[in-house]
């Protein structure tokens, strides 16, 4: 049976794999197995980003997201964000470990000088060092705490994102506990987003791979229009992919330019099943 497709209704959200698959840690649940040595996708330069921003302006893109890998490993990240914020709102997804005081000050300056929103998302994977570090590596929690303190000092309130690997976070009680933890860092306006896990990349080993029946078999255009791939694309060093999740799938590479990707996408992957069933959106 052929897979259903998602139409591209409007290109609202443009993602940049700004740090490629290069990260300073190796999370056991990473759906693209990022690590210090994974060069599957390389870092993007300021020129790479500017080229797509110019195309995005023509297409009326609404918002920009930056991820990796770890975006703050990209030495050009501040100039890249400055260039982006001249054109629209930007959100950066980070593990929070490289948020030094000077970086946070630069981010605060960008926040203040732009008419558009600059937002940060910092990932936590547990209620404490033990559970967080079990997924992210020894000593990571302590470094994130320093980063979050620096952000709070700079007066920037991030969104804390937590995957469902953190046990109980999806429950009302779990949310409440997490919001209290965030307040404890010194953030007056705690924000929390819970993310689903995709059983690909490293997560495939931590839990298990998708079963062959975990595929979408039928979906109307109207139903597919709520999927994020009906309104987003992802720019990496290898070209333009359908979404932030499927960048290791060769058939999810839709073209070299944004315009080439303005067409429907066949939802043939296990991750597509998760997106539909869990109602996932990678945007905030």
């Amino acid at each position: 049976m052929p897979s259903p497709s998602a139409p591209l209704i409007a290109l609202d959200t443009l993602w940049f794999q700004v740090a490629g698959t290069i990260c300073n840690i190796e999370c056991t649940h990473c759906f693209i197995s990022c690590s210090p040595a994974n060069h599957s996708h390389e870092m993007l330069s300021l020129a790479d980003v500017e080229m797509r921003l110019a195309e995005a302006r023509e297409l009326g893109v609404r918002e920009y997201y930056f991820t990796g890998g770890e975006p703050f490993m990209n030495r050009d990240i501040i100039p890249i964000l400055r260039a982006t914020l001249r054109q629209g709102p930007a959100t950066v997804l980070t593990n929070g470990m490289l948020l030094r005081k000077d970086v946070c000050r630069s981010l605060r300056e960008l926040f203040d000088e732009s008419d558009y929103s600059l937002d940060l998302r910092v990932s936590l994977d547990g209620f404490d060092a033990e559970s967080h570090d079990a997924i992210r590596g020894k000593g990571v929690w302590d470094r994130v705490m320093v980063g979050l303190t620096n952000l709070a000092e700079a007066g920037l309130d991030p969104v804390i994102t937590v995957t469902t690997a953190a046990e109980g976070v999806a429950s009302g009680e779990g949310r409440k506990r997490f919001l209290e933890i965030i307040r404890g860092f010194g953030f007056a306006k705690p924000r929390l987003k819970v993310l689903s896990l995709f059983r690909i990349g490293a997560e495939e080993t931590r839990t298990h791979a998708y079963e062959s029946w975990e595929r979408l078999t039928s979906l109307t255009n109207e139903e597919a229009s709520v999927l994020q791939c009906s309104s987003c694309r992802m720019v990496t060093s290898k070209g333009v992919f359908v979404c932030p999740i499927l960048i290791e799938e060769p058939r999810a590479r839709m073209g070299d330019t944004l315009r080439e990707t303005m067409r429907p996408f066949a939802l043939e992957y296990g991750a597509c099943h998760t997106c539909w069933v869990d109602g996932v959106t990678c945007t905030t």
């Binding site: 409007a10 609202d12 995005a56 302006r57 023509e58 297409l59 009326g60 893109v61 609404r62 918002e63 054109q87 629209g88 709102p89 926040f111 008419d115 558009y116 929103s117 600059l118 937002d119 007066g155 309130d157 009302g172 949310r175 007056a188 306006k189 924000r191």
Partner: protein, 257 residues
């Protein structure tokens, strides 16, 4: 020529009376409401009754769409559990206290209004031309995106509401997007007044007009109706206490909570 646009009213009939008085004093050609007549405030029949009595034209918001179709929730478009909790209290109260006749009347309202004025094609929508509950915030609605919305929907001027915060963008193409703000609750700025929009033509100059009303009286009535104290606090302090998670970073930073 001047036109007046009234955003979300949220059952705040005290503010509606004050707004209509202000508009009458200024002498405008036409006045339009942009939907979300109910929610948040007390006695939800009073706002639609007053609009009908004064013969004011307008469009459905997500509230009118939900009430007229007898839906279970407001379809406000929130994603956070706490926001949805308060939105549900608000909707259940409004649903229970809106007459069937007015719910049916809400179903007769158009979803958009188009007209030409001062050589400009106006399009009035509640959220955006694409979706009744899409949020068009100032800090997340960049110019290229707004130009595309105007192009795709054949409009020179789009007027919307839904977010609760007023703004105006004059685009390089000569088009305009105006979020009229709301008169239902304050603009999360620590002031108790509310805002409506006046547009002068042909210049398309936009003036956001602050409206002061008896907010103490509204607060007392909300308490008498046992509406959440969090809502009352917003009316009395000018700071939003609920429905905060949808705010973009910039707008969130500007508020107290």
């Amino acid at each position: 020529m001047r036109l007046a646009f009234i955003g979300g009213i949220y059952s705040n009939y005290h503010a509606l009376v004050a707004t209509l008085d202000d508009i009458a004093r200024r002498g405008v050609e036409a006045t339009y409401f942009l939907g979300d007549l109910g929610a948040f405030g007390p006695h939800p029949n009073r706002v639609p009754e007053l609009l009908i009595e004064r013969g004011i034209r307008g469009i459905q918001g997500n509230y009118e769409e939900s009430l007229s179709t007898r839906a279970n929730d407001c379809h406000c478009g929130y994603t956070d559990p706490r926001d949805n909790h308060y939105a549900q209290i608000s909707y259940d109260y409004t649903f229970a206290n809106t007459s069937d006749a007015l719910k049916d009347w809400m179903g007769t309202l158009p979803r958009e209004i188009r007209f030409e004025a001062g050589d400009k094609r106006f399009l009035l929508v509640h959220g955006s031309p694409r979706r009744i509950n899409e949020f068009l915030w100032r800090s997340t609605s960049p110019d290229p995106f707004l130009e595309k919305l105007c192009r795709d929907h054949d409009a020179d001027v789009i007027v919307c509401t839904h977010t609760g915060l007023q703004w105006h963008r004059a685009l390089a193409s000569g088009r305009h997007v105006i979020n009229a703000g709301v008169i239902g609750r304050p603009a999360n700025d620590g002031q108790t007044n509310v805002w409506y929009a006046l547009v002068s033509l042909p210049s398309c100059e936009v003036e956001f007009v602050p409206v002061h009303y008896d907010h103490q009286k509204l607060a007392a009535e909300m308490r008498a109706e046992k509406l959440p104290e969090e809502f009352v606090e917003t009316v009395l302090t000018g700071w939003w206490t609920t429905c905060l998670e949808v705010l973009p970073a910039k707008e969130r930073a500007a508020g107290k909570w």
